[in-house]
């Protein structure tokens, strides 16, 4: 993403909008500038801000007059007045940033928007996680910190040593050159993204070990990791995971419940 210096009036509205804080006003030129290495191409600034399409020269003049008289003007905080935010054409490997950061871009490997994962949201139809199994979602960079694929690889290689099964229908797995070792393709290791989800599956009995492993690994990465764990309920709607998590002292306050109302309706 780029901010056009011809159009930018340095109103500062876009600075706090950026989820990873990649925009600042450059004092040398008096314009907002995007830090290219920090930007994850999430399009929050371009898509999320409302637009006024005003003439930049007119706006700058008004702002200079207001500044001279020390007038404080409270513009609407979610508007870019002059269409100054301009998406750039992205090529590989930078385009991977947008795929993993812009929730409106569907992941090619799964066809799903957002983080590109189905997890147990469609388990009533896909039967991906069965009774006695545990599905993990290990999300890097969330909330709002961002992550680089080298941090993701640090965890995936260690998890591969625990003989976990990486979900095949997953955007991160699709970028692995060797899923048996958790190795991600080298040309994207430095690319920064808003978040990426690694999905793995194990037996329920391994849940404490895997959760502890993830927590231990999280100390070695330069990002935040959010963890979710799922399972199939039994015929009465009870889940064995609850007792395991309670025993291990993990929070269990919030989560998702699949109601089992999905049906296969196509051939």
């Amino acid at each position: 993403m780029r901010i056009d210096p011809e159009k930018c009036v340095a109103c500062g509205n876009c600075l706090p909008i950026c989820p990873v804080g990649a925009i600042h006003i450059d004092p040398d030129i008096g314009r907002a500038v995007v830090n290219e290495d920090g930007c994850v191409e999430c399009f929050a600034c371009f898509r999320g801000m409302s637009k006024e399409h005003l003439n930049p020269v007119m706006v700058r003049t008004i702002r200079q007059i207001a500044k001279f008289f020390r007038f404080r003007f409270d513009p609407e905080p979610d508007i870019c007045p002059t269409d100054a935010i301009v998406p750039q054409e992205l090529t590989w490997p930078r385009i991977v940033r947008r795929v993993f950061s812009d929730p409106q871009v569907p992941h090619e490997s799964t066809g799903i928007h957002g983080r590109g994962t189905a997890e147990v949201k469609t388990n009533d139809v896909t039967n991906r996680v069965k009774e006695g199994e545990a599905g993990f979602v290990v999300e890097f960079g969330r909330p709002g910190v961002g992550a680089r694929f080298r941090d993701v690889q640090q965890v995936t290689t260690a998890l591969a040593d625990c003989s976990v099964e990486f979900e095949k229908n997953n955007p991160v797995t699709s970028l692995m050159i060797d899923p048996s070792r958790g190795l991600i393709r080298e040309d994207i290791l430095n690319e920064k993204i808003l978040s990426a989800i690694v999905e793995i599956k194990t037996r329920l009995g391994q849940v404490p070990l895997i959760l502890k492993k993830i927590r231990d690994l999280s100390r070695a990465v330069d990002t935040v990791i959010s963890v979710g764990v799922s399972t199939r309920c039994d015929a009465a709607g009870n889940d064995a995971l609850h007792e395991i998590l309670e025993r291990e002292g993990y929070p269990m306050y919030r989560g998702k419940t699949n109601l089992g109302l999905g049906r296969i309706t196509t051939q």
Binding site: L15, T257, T265
Partner: protein, 234 residues
């Protein structure tokens, strides 16, 4: 997508408070089809979901490919700085459904969520329906509507460089957009603007909601959080 899985509250605090208040105003029901399995007549199914939701007065609802009931505008004019239209447009969400997406409805009370789920059970749309909520409330809802839980997913919280995270109140606001589109810095700015009496909590919540691309941002809950933070009660 773990869109709504990790909505922050005191229940995840790293040194947990001994008795955090239960969350009683944040319930999301969402629907998702699977390619090649139940995506026939998808537009009709998703629109039916949203139309049923509308009967129960959701505080937000959305289509993950387009947005919620409050969206950014491409046609602002300068009068907006004095008179901004914050009217929600749920019909835009329904009319905009075109195909594969996830649709969601957010409720600020348990009874509305339960009534909606009961209607969904009767409607038998055939697409996967999930509740994102405190687990006990989701379980109770299933029991009261005669639904047997199929699968569950627990949010375990955050680990790693948690020192990079903002304060809890800011997190409560920014994590309401699971895709990270509501920036923590913008949430903090809105809290500060309310403290300075530059905007009302209602306006501040609506500015934030426009950035949430899938409409799961709980506008009503955000108002309450911002109001409390703005008056130093949080």
């Amino acid at each position: 997508m773990t869109n709504t899985l990790h909505r922050y509250s005191e229940h995840y605090a790293f040194e947990r408070t001994s008795n955090p208040e239960p969350i009683k105003d944040d319930y999301i029901v969402f629907a998702m089809a699977s390619r090649g399995l139940n995506d026939d007549n998808l537009v009709e199914k998703y629109r039916s979901f949203l139309q049923l939701a509308l009967k129960h007065k959701p505080v937000n609802m959305g289509d993950a490919t387009k947005g919620g009931i409050l969206r950014p505008r491409q046609d602002m004019n300068p009068t907006a700085h004095w008179r901004r239209d914050h009217s929600p447009d749920p019909e835009q969400v329904i009319a905009g459904i075109e195909g594969h997406t996830t649709v969601a409805a957010v409720f600020d009370n348990y009874e509305a969520m339960r009534a909606f789920v009961a209607e969904l059970e009767c409607a038998q749309l055939g697409i996967s329906i999930n509740i994102s909520a405190p687990m006990d409330d989701a379980r109770r809802c299933c029991e009261e509507t005669g639904i047997t839980r199929h699968s569950v997913e627990y949010s375990i919280g955050f680990c790693g460089r948690v020192d990079k995270l903002p304060d809890g109140t800011t997190l409560e606001l920014s994590t309401m957009c699971g895709h990270g589109m509501v920036s923590a810095n913008f949430a903090r700015k809105m809290i500060d603007w309310v403290k300075e009496n530059r905007r009302s909590p209602q306006e501040a919540a609506r500015y934030l909601a426009r950035f949430c691309i899938c409409g799961v941002f709980n506008i009503h809950r955000a108002e309450g959080i911002i109001k409390q933070a703005g008056t130093l009660k949080r």
